[in-house]
């Protein structure tokens, strides 16, 4: 008999209902974090933030240098980080003669580029590692009885699982983006920059939500459709790749039909209504624009490539995020992508509500 065996005793404590989702989420995060692969990918997922942090630092260095003598337009006079910063500003369409205006634009575009280019791809990998097991694993281990034989509703269960994935997704997208903003404020010449860019953290949160909600729900919906997590993982990656390829093929076909190479389309895009005014250097097709063209593309400057964005979750999210950051100013341009995200969200929710407790009904 164990030393502390006091036999069975009744329990008269107070229970608090309605916290099940939180319990499921915290336990799920703890279990997911046990995966060595996830920890490695997470470290890797933060590494792009270092590069973008360099961008913020260089830009602020350029602002500082310029304030000491000379302007942005005299990039030739700047050295080291200041030079790189001026190139970044120039490439991202910053108004070189107005530091405050340039900061808002460059920061927005850097943040958008950060959330779009490396993080959205890494997010797909992280979600692909974690999500398939979340519900499929429960179905396989028949763990649904652990939940539904207790005071846990379908909503609690789904919310808990969403919480697990959302927390991990936010670690990849939201937190590093917010950290970049904080870093930008810290390396800027004045603390008032935080006040001047107060809306950026809010935009980051909304943009992260635009990525997180449909992505997480779609991944969980796949997970709920099978007890084999491998199949769910395959479906997840296949969807991303297929959408990407479809989007790329259609966009390529458009370009070929118009007979315009990509760089030319970028140039054309800059002069269009609804976009921030691009820098003169960009219109000229300068060397810096060519070097940092990928950044401009990720930052949502090139709208001609977004015609088929609604077909791909990744690209649809990009368009919506560009609209959230104020880079895409036309709401109508974001509507097809918004519809895609809403459709994915609603469809995934329907699947989840139908599937998560399906075994209890058979």
């Amino acid at each position: 008999m164990p030393l502390h065996d006091v036999g069975y005793r009744g329990w008269q404590g107070t229970t608090r209902q309605g916290l099940a989702a939180g319990v499921i989420a915290t336990t799920g995060i703890r279990l997911a974090w046990k995966s060595r692969w996830l920890r490695r990918v997470m470290i890797f997922a933060w590494s792009p933030a270092i590069i973008f942090a360099g961008g913020f630092f260089a830009f602020e260095q350029a602002v500082d240098d310029a304030s000491k003598g000379g302007g942005f337009s005299e990039a030739g006079r700047l050295d080291g980080f200041g030079m790189i910063g001026s190139l970044v500003a120039e490439s991202l369409g910053g108004n070189l003669d107005d530091p405050d205006q340039a900061r808002r634009l460059v920061w927005s575009r850097l943040l958008l580029a950060f959330m779009r280019a490396p993080q959205a791809v890494l997010l797909a990998v992280v979600v692909g590692l974690v999500a398939p097991k979340l519900i499929a694993g429960d179905l396989r281990a028949k763990a649904w009885l652990v939940y539904f034989a207790r005071p846990v509703s379908r909503g609690d269960y789904i919310l808990g699982k969403v919480g697990v994935l959302a927390a991990i997704v936010c670690l990849v997208t939201l937190l590093p983006a917010l950290a970049l903003w904080v870093l930008g404020v810290l390396v800027s010449p004045s603390a008032w920059v935080a006040v001047a860019t107060w809306d950026l953290p809010l935009r980051i949160i909304v943009a992260a939500a635009a990525v997180t909600i449909p992505t997480v729900l779609l991944a969980l919906a796949y997970s709920s459709l099978t007890a084999e997590s491998r199949i769910a993982a395959f479906a997840w990656f296949a969807t991303w790749i297929a959408c990407w390829i479809t989007h790329g093929a259609l966009t390529g076909a458009d370009m070929a039909a118009r007979g315009r190479p990509e760089v030319a389309s970028l140039q054309a895009a800059f002069g269009d209504d609804g976009f921030d005014d691009g820098p003169p250097a960009f219109r000229r097709g300068s060397r810096s624009q060519r070097r940092l063209g990928w950044l401009a593309q990720a930052a949502g400057i090139d709208r001609t490539t977004d015609r088929w964005a609604w077909l791909s979750l990744f690209h649809a999210q990009g368009v919506v995020q560009a609209w959230i950051f104020g880079i895409e100013k036309r709401f109508t341009a974001a509507i097809p992508s918004l519809i895609t995200l809403v459709t994915v969200t609603v469809g995934s929710l329907v699947v989840l509500f139908l599937r998560v407790d399906a075994p209890t009904r058979t």
């Binding site: 164990p2 006091v6 036999g7 069975y8 009744g10 329990w11 652990v146 846990v152 209890t360």
Partner: protein, 323 residues
């Protein structure tokens, strides 16, 4: 938490419960009560036992009929019903990656217990279940018996008024099996719990259950006190004692009382139901020098009752088909 043996109405009441999956009727007009104590739910595979348990938990929508758990309708207030119920499923039903004690604590927290109190209570019930240090191992690495203990501890950690167990002795060695049955008896008798045990092991039912419900093809074929079901139609007595039992058989034969040594080697079976005959058995036992430990009505083996009920169900089915 809720519900005591003192309540007048049975904790679980099922009235005309009918459940269909498409055209297939899984539960057909099932009505019975589960009073405090231990009720055995037996039946062949596919009889509808699992569906019945799900109906009690409010997990399935009924085509007809009603279920009441302490007066509550599980279809309307499933959370409240599940909060007062603990379930040990037949399958593992565990969360891979958690240790035994974490699994029990997880169950406690899902029921709304605070984390620290849930952990304290988890250790308390695991101690009672004699889980030892195995509780700290990952659940997927535990033996079947240990998993069963963890599942049982997870079911009772929030001190439910009603405990439902599906094959609770599956995979347990004889010692563990006996210990598990002892815990169920203790919960029922010492703590006033209402226990519903769904099992195929009739020996377990006979040894611990007060009541029996036999489900065949979704219908209640037999329901009642176990003592009534296994002893009502017999006039035999079982005599247990020491001494020359074979001699006693011969002496009883001269008095015109049929007797035989029990097949299981546990005493004599005497065909004597009336009081006069019983007095004669006592007298002859004394004469033969047999020390009588007990003389009690012989119960029919539950297996016999079970098979007879199945045969009756088959006959009824055939008659229905012919008609």
């Amino acid at each position: 938490m809720t519900g005591t043996a003192a309540d007048a109405t049975p904790p679980v009441q099922l009235q005309n419960v009918t459940k269909r999956y498409g055209r297939r009727t899984v539960l057909d007009d099932v009505s019975f009560d589960v009073p405090p104590g231990i009720t055995g739910l037996v039946g062949p595979n596919g009889a509808g036992k699992s569906t019945l348990v799900r109906a009690i938990l409010g997990l399935v929508r009924l085509a007809r009929g009603s279920v009441r758990v302490h007066g509550l309708d599980p279809a309307r207030v499933p959370r409240r019903v599940r909060a007062m119920t603990g379930v040990v499923p037949e399958d593992d039903a565990t969360v891979p990656g958690l240790s035994g004690v974490e699994m029990v604590q997880y169950a406690a927290r899902l029921c709304g217990m605070p984390a620290t109190e849930g952990l304290r209570r988890s250790h308390e019930v695991l101690d009672w279940c004699d889980a030892g240090q195995e509780r700290y191992r990952a659940i997927e690495t535990l033996s079947v018996g240990m998993k069963q203990k963890v599942a049982f501890a997870a079911a009772i950690v929030h001190d439910p008024a009603i405990v439902i167990l599906d094959e609770p002795t599956n995979g347990l060695d004889p010692l563990e099996r006996r210990a598990m049955l002892g815990r169920l008896v203790s919960l029922a008798r010492d703590h006033g719990k209402t226990i519903l045990v769904s099992t195929h092991v009739l020996r377990d039912v006979q040894s611990i259950c007060d009541r029996l419900v036999l489900l065949v093809r979704g219908r209640v074929q037999l329901a009642g006190q176990l003592a009534d079901l296994t002893g009502s139609d017999t006039t035999s007595m079982r005599l247990r004692g020491t001494g020359q039992l074979a001699d006693l058989v011969g002496r009883l034969a001269t008095r015109g009382i049929a007797a035989r040594l029990a097949h299981d080697g546990d005493g004599l079976i005497v065909e004597a139901g009336e009081a006069a005959a019983i007095r004669e058995v006592w007298a002859e036992a004394l004469g033969a020098g047999v020390t009588v430990w007990s003389l009690e009505p012989e119960r029919r083996p539950l297996e016999e009752v079970f098979l007879a009920a199945l045969a009756a169900a088959d006959a009824g089915e055939a008659q229905h088909a012919t008609a």
